[in-house]
């Protein structure tokens, strides 16, 4: 411990220089940990968007449902989807099962017809577990969206909610009467009159131009679907268990394919990879800056203490112990730097979040969002470990230089 004590005293001897070095470490910690908190917010937002956008935590589908297109409606559906949903609702890990039908066809206002991508949902269950009402709220702000409401739970109601772009291209608004056209499971053409009860804004123009939502009863009649369902979105009681539950339910339902949300949300995975690349590069640069700055400080400190090192070596200190002395100095710089960095991060995070700053809309979306830098202890620990390792590496070269000093020359050093 004598070496640790010596190291600490040496750092305190040059207070100003130590303070400057600590500032570099603190700045590195601050930048990386705030970036980590921002990334966590982004990932959380994307994950919530994917899960509450309709995927749920797990999706149950027919085998091969993800391969190729359907030649006709519900070709790759779960034939007894409703029964399967009822079975899954009995599972203790499952909070709710939301059956869905995905279909396509033409939507006609009379003079004009536009191709659509439709989703049929349970009007009663969907608002409880998915973010459909948020899209509706945003859609109500669009032209013709005034008076938007969610689908009626009455099975006899024939209603539709249109994407804002789709409504615009048809000149439709809330209250308009349109005709849905699609093919039944047997391949026969079918049509159904529906009333527009709302507009939805999904945040992506390409989606808004094509999507519509109807109740399951409407789609069942249009497609002659019977109990068949395209997918079952499963909401788990414990979202953290998604991977384990996916394996368990897959084993429980051998005639189906069970996929977790993160395998289906390709946008989430792409953004995550992009962020990892950006912040990984930024991290490397910051670690390099810390490395060079602290190595410079420690080297200066070694050059000023050449005679002192000569005396210590004359007293019997081994070269390896001098190396260890410099490692202790690096260790203390890392430790204090990370501790101060953590305090600065928590303060700045609280300050920034309190400002309720509005961030611009991410690429491909139409909505901005409020900055909410997350508390990410795992990231803080990782940054502290990374900085500690950087400091130890930066102390290596000055330590080696000190260890290689010839004693007689060091004692003559002025």
């Amino acid at each position: 411990m004598i070496l640790a004590r010596l190291a600490l005293r040496n750092l305190l001897r040059q207070r100003r220089r130590t303070a400057l070095t600590l500032m570099v470490v603190v700045a590195g910690f601050l930048a990386l940990s705030l970036a980590g908190g921002f990334m966590a917010q982004t990932f959380q937002g994307l994950a919530d968007g994917a899960i509450r956008g309709g995927l749920g935590h797990l999706q149950v589908m027919a085998p091969g449902a993800l391969e190729g297109d359907e030649a006709q409606s519900l070709e790759k559906a779960l034939p007894e989807g409703e029964a399967l949903a009822a079975q899954l609702r009995q599972d203790p890990a499952v909070a709710e099962v939301l059956p869905r039908i995905q279909f396509m066809g033409l939507l006609s206002s009379g003079p004009k017809s536009v191709a659509f991508l439709g989703t049929a949902v349970d009007p009663a269950l969907e608002p409880k577990h998915m973010a459909c009402l948020d899209a509706l709220k945003d859609g109500a702000k669009a032209r013709g969206g005034g008076g938007s409401r969610w689908l009626s739970t009455d099975p006899a109601a024939r209603e539709v909610i249109l994407g804002t772009g789709l409504a615009r291209s048809l000149g439709a608004s809330v209250g308009s009467l349109l005709t849905l056209m699609s093919t039944t499971r047997d391949g026969a053409l079918n049509a159904l009159d529906v009333e527009v009860v709302g507009l939805q804004d999904q945040g992506l123009k390409e989606l808004n131009d094509r999507v519509l939502t109807v109740g399951l009863a409407t789609a069942t009649q249009l497609l002659d679907a019977g109990p068949a369902r395209s997918r079952l979105s499963v909401v788990l009681k414990r979202p953290g268990d998604t991977a384990a539950e996916q394996a368990r339910l897959q084993a429980l339902l051998p005639g189906t394919t069970v996929k977790p949300w993160f395998e289906l949300a390709s946008f989430y995975r792409q953004v995550k990879l992009l962020y990892y690349a950006i912040f990984g590069f930024m991290g490397l640069v910051l670690f390099l800056v810390v490395l060079l700055a602290t190595a410079n400080t420690l080297l200066m400190s070694v050059m000023e203490r050449v005679r002192e090192f000569g005396v210590l070596r004359a007293m019997g200190l081994r070269p390896g112990q001098l190396l260890a002395l410099l490692q202790w100095e690096g260790a203390f710089l890392g430790l204090f730097g990370s501790a101060l960095g953590l305090a600065a991060t928590l303060l700045l995070r609280a300050g920034l979040n309190a400002l309720h700053l509005q961030m611009p809309a991410p690429p491909g979306t139409s909505h901005g969002y409020e900055l909410d830098i997350h508390l990410v202890p795992g990231v803080y620990a990782l940054v502290a470990l990374g900085l500690q390792a950087t400091l130890q590496v930066s102390a290596l070269f000055p330590g080696l230089k000190a260890a290689k000093l010839r004693i007689v020359e060091a004692l003559r050093h002025v």
């Binding site: 070596r313 004359a314 007293m315 019997g316 081994r318 007689v408 004692l411």
Partner: protein
Amino acid sequence: MLEFREVTRAYELGGERAGVFGVSLAVPKGCLAVLAGPSGSGKTTLLQLAGLLDQPDGGAVLLDGQEVSSLSERERCGLRLSRLGFVFQAFNLVPVLTALENAMLPLQLQGLPEDEARRRAEAALKRVGLSDRLHHRPGQLSGGQQQRAAIARALAPDPLLVLADEPTASLDHAHGGPLMDLMAELAAERGATFLVASHDPAVIARADHVFRLADGRLIEEEHR
């Protein structure tokens, strides 16, 4: 106790050959011996060889009968730590440590428990008259006090041999004389050998043995 046998250590200094050449001498145990001579005569070179800080080009250095000049770096470190003490002209106390911590340093490096190291360091500092300056840092001590603290640091591990390079050169006469008296007393009292390099007549006058050097060769021995 300390013996040089035909020791040669040569190096270039300002384009000229310097060092020591074929020096043989023996320093008995428990005495105050002085390597005397003008600047460049080879005093410090011999002291460094005796202190295992350097290795001879030829000949042998024996410490307590053991040939030590050809030991490995690790073995020499171990010997320096346990059997040798050093006192330097410029005191060279570790500036960030107090007098007590400086004296404890070699003991702690030996691996002694802190309590034991503290006890022995306090005793050494008390012996050199610094019991009221234990917690002062070098910057808070006078030159004479710093040199006494350096002697306490050298003596605390109970070494066989204490090597002092011009220990009074940075002190005025009023402090240099008592310091040499102290070294002579400690040599007699502890049985440790003090080998001092100096050209100060006052230091030479207090020595039991004087080895006079000139141009890297032993020219005269005086045993009192």
